[in-house]
């Protein structure tokens, strides 16, 4: 475990009710017992198939969804017990960049107002000070000349430029922690690298912690220090990114990497195919290990009965699979 973690969750559970006509008929267990920690100035990639709960986890870290149980610590404060007012104050210290640059900006605001809005809401600075901050933030995300872009409306900008505006908005309050939810997946391949470089630059300059949500292993490798592999509402493996990708421990991680069709020298880890079988229902997840119906190493009477604990497998490496049972001690 990182000694100094900025964000940490403990047995976090987030369930959404499934309604039908009258009353609730079940729950979507979007996040089901997640322990995750993100250190200061650390970038953690959260990788998993679509619908496994990545976005929900990210939103929870920002205090945007109320968890059913568990705790979320931000700089030592438990967000789950804060009032809405106190939460607002904490949110000043966080930022978010979403996937869709077309939907994440208010189309009726100018770029200037979009970026200024967090300052206005949090009553930071005078009008002149705010102006300076906005223009500086626009320069920082390489929207030059800043004055020119400040007067534009989102629909006048390209996807990449919009995403830069979203980044400027996320960093304007000088947050310590930024959640980026698939920030490049909707962008042209040529722009992705630029945006990721920008994130890295910002991180170096301001020492921001990042949670980088993606299902693209290639960019995760490129951008993150540590990686967390999520499957059906649970984290199945964490560890330093390079180590996990070159030597995956959990069968699911292995399947993810194997699914990459062409491991050519440039190491383009793009997830093309999901492992065989279907991702499980989050309303009625499989008993025991959730991956067991698709797992090549399935052990009858064990994997479908007991939930595998997190095993410590080497330095900084954790994997929730009974295969490690003999080799290692329980964390």
């Amino acid at each position: 475990m990182t000694t100094e973690s900025l964000v940490r969750t403990e047995e976090l559970r987030i369930y959404f009710p499934v309604r039908k006509f009258f009353g609730t008929v079940g729950e979507v267990k979007a996040v089901d017992g997640v322990n995750l920690s993100i250190g200061r100035k650390e970038t953690v990639a959260l990788v998993g198939e679509s619908g496994c709960g990545k976005t929900t986890l990210g939103r929870a870290l920002l205090g945007l969804v109320k968890p059913k149980s568990g705790k979320i610590f931000f700089d030592g404060t438990d967000l789950t017990i804060l009032s809405e007012r106190e939460l607002k104050l904490m949110r000043r210290r966080m930022g978010v960049v979403f996937q869709d640059p077309y939907a994440s900006l208010n189309p009726s605001f100018t770029v200037y107002r979009i970026v200024e809005e967090p300052l206005v809401v949090n009553k930071i600075g005078s009008k002149e000070e705010r102006r300076e901050m906005v223009l500086k933030a626009l320069e920082e995300v390489k929207l030059n000349p800043a004055e020119f872009f400040a007067s534009k409306y989102p629909h006048m900008l390209s996807g990449g430029q919009r995403q830069r505006v979203a980044i400027a908005r996320a960093i304007i309050t000088k947050p310590e922690f930024v959640v980026t939810d698939e920030p490049v997946s909707m962008l042209d391949a040529s722009i992705r690298v630029e945006i990721l470089l920008l994130f890295r630059e910002i991180q170096k300059k301001h020492g921001v912690s990042f949670l980088y949500i993606t299902h693209d292993l290639a960019t995760a490798k490129y951008f993150s220090d540590r990686i967390a592999i999520m499957y059906a509402g649970r984290i199945v493996e964490t560890g330093p990114t390079k180590a996990v990708l070159s030597e995956p421990l959990h069968p699911y991680t292995q399947a993810l990497i194997d699914a990459i069709p062409d491991p050519d020298p440039s190491n383009r880890f793009v997830m093309r195919k999901i492992p065989p079988g279907q991702p499980p229902s989050l309303v009625n997840p499989p008993k025991g290990c959730r991956f067991h119906p698709r797992c090549p190493f399935f052990m009858q009477g064990k994997c479908d009965v007991l939930e595998p604990p997190m095993y410590r497998v080497g330095v900084e490496r954790f994997s929730a699979c009974f295969l490690h049972e003999e080799k290692v001690t329980i964390k």
Partner: protein, 468 residues
């Protein structure tokens, strides 16, 4: 949002139909401003409700003046001569003829060169005396010199001589014509006709009667039997046209109702459509934002209001309580506040609420009021504008329809009221088309103009919204 609206308005100008619509709306607004400035509302209501006494000098069911141009015929206008207000062609002399007796002589003359016979003739008189009422003889002298004694009487008090309906004069006239031409007129001759028609055999047939043009005279001779005695009269020869809009069965100037109908229709339509749209939007926003119990409650109330039959309810309310037009407006707004629009707006807000930029706003700490007012509502307003503009026409029509059904405000002069009167007055049956068609035309161009502009706004705003 302001940019979207500004751009939208700019592109409106490139649509011809919208320009026409906008021009009509501007004209209606101009008329409204003029009306409100020129005829105060209270004055308009007073004139409209005054009854026949105020309008006694106006012709009944007169055509608008512009009918003369259409019919290519000079239709008579109203001529008024007053002996107490001497002018050219009005002479009054009183000559002493003894100790207390005086002789009164009033001569009135006017040129008449219209192509039609007047609609009516009335003489209003005032009289003053101590003991004995004066003795008055009135004689009508046609341009060709034909003298017709109208009436010989001792007016005991102020009064009116309704010449057109004087039965004895009518029968004397028939007799005179029988003596002159040896034949009775083939129709029911009224004094108005015989006083103005050419004195030949054409007068005997209704279809051949022609107007005698020239200078007519009314000659009054009287014996004033008291020293203080006096007599004055006012001759009103009612025309067949009046004002730019004509008059109704109560001699009222329809123009007043048409003029005042404009600001009333526009205000009614605009207030109703804007406030209903805003209220529905606000309710939809609250419903979508808070969800849960609030949402459930609002949705059920909305459903109740949707199944509530609008018109019957409105009719019931307005028959139970005799209400004026602004109360009707209020009732309409209340009945429609929970209309189907609530569901539409709720759906739009539910969708917008989940959008990422709202999530982003929550993430940097914006509160609910700020998000709703600054980030949600401005997104919806451009979509509302075409609908609001459209429905102005609907509500203008609604107001007229209510008036025609007889549940409108009887006090206020409105287009619908004029149409209602025209129905009861049998306007279309009697060929008084102007009475019904003028307000109907105004209603039509009003709704047409709003429809044209609304249609264009729809074209402009909606594709753009889909795109952004």
């Amino acid at each position: 949002m302001s940019s979207i609206i500004a751009e939208g308005l700019k592109s409106v100008a490139s649509y011809k139909s919208a320009l026409i619509g906008a021009a009509i709306i501007l004209m209606l607004v101009g008329i409204s401003i003029y009306t409100v400035a020129a005829i105060p509302y209270d004055e308009a209501v007073r004139l409209w409700r005054a009854g026949e006494q105020t309008w006694i000098e106006a012709p009944r069911n007169a055509y608008p003046t512009w009918y003369s141009y259409i019919l290519q015929k000079r239709l008579p206008e109203t001529i008024i001569k007053d002996s107490s207000k001497p002018e050219l062609g009005v002479n009054k002399v009183i000559v002493p003829a003894g100790e207390t007796i005086k002789v009164l002589r009033i001569e009135m003359s006017f040129a008449f060169d219209y192509d039609d016979i007047p609609s009516e003739i009335n003489i209003f008189y005032t009289v003053r005396y101590n003991k004995s009422a004066p003795q008055i003889t009135m004689t009508w002298i046609k341009p060709d010199g034909t003298e017709i004694e109208l009436r010989k009487f001792n007016p005991g008090s102020d009064g009116a001589y309704y010449l057109s309906v004087d039965a004895s004069l009518a029968s004397r006239e028939v007799e005179r014509l029988v003596n002159k031409f040896g034949q009775r007129p083939s129709y029911e001759l009224t004094p108005t006709v015989s006083l103005f028609a050419v004195e030949d055999r054409s007068i005997l047939e209704r279809d051949t009667v022609t107007v005698m043009k020239g200078v007519y005279r009314l000659s009054v001779e009287g014996l004033l039997l008291d020293p203080q005695s006096d007599f004055d009269l006012k001759l009103v020869v009612y025309g067949k046209v009046y004002g730019w809009a004509g008059t109704d069965h109560l001699r009222r100037d329809i123009g007043i109702a048409l003029l005042w109908g404009t600001p009333i229709a526009l205000t009614f339509g605009l207030i109703a459509s804007v406030s209903i749209a805003l209220i529905q939007m606000a309710i939809g926003a609250v419903s979508a934002w808070f969800g849960g119990v609030v949402d459930n409650f609002i949705q059920r109330v909305t459903e109740v209001f949707i199944v509530l039959p609008f018109l019957p309810t409105l009719i019931m309310v307005s028959t139970l309580y005799k209400i004026d037009i602004w109360t009707i407006l209020l009732v309409v707004i209340i009945l429609l506040s929970f209309g189907p629009g609530v569901k539409n707006y709720r759906a739009v807000f539910l969708q917008l609420k989940e959008s990422q930029y709202i999530e982003a706003a929550k993430a940097f700490g914006a509160g609910a009021p700020r998000i709703i007012l600054l980030h949600l509502v401005p997104r919806v307003i451009p979509t509302m504008i075409p609908a609001i503009v459209y429905s102005v026409a609907d509500f203008v029509f609604l107001e007229a329809a209510l008036a025609i059904l007889g549940i409108g405000d009887p006090r206020t002069p409105t287009w619908g009221k004029v149409i209602e009167d025209s129905f009861y007055g049998g306007a279309l049956f009697k060929g008084l088309y102007y009475w019904t068609l003028q307000p109907a035309f105004l209603l039509l161009i009003t709704s047409l103009s709003f429809a044209l502009v609304g249609l264009t706004l729809d074209k402009i705003f909606n594709p753009r919204l889909r795109e952004v």
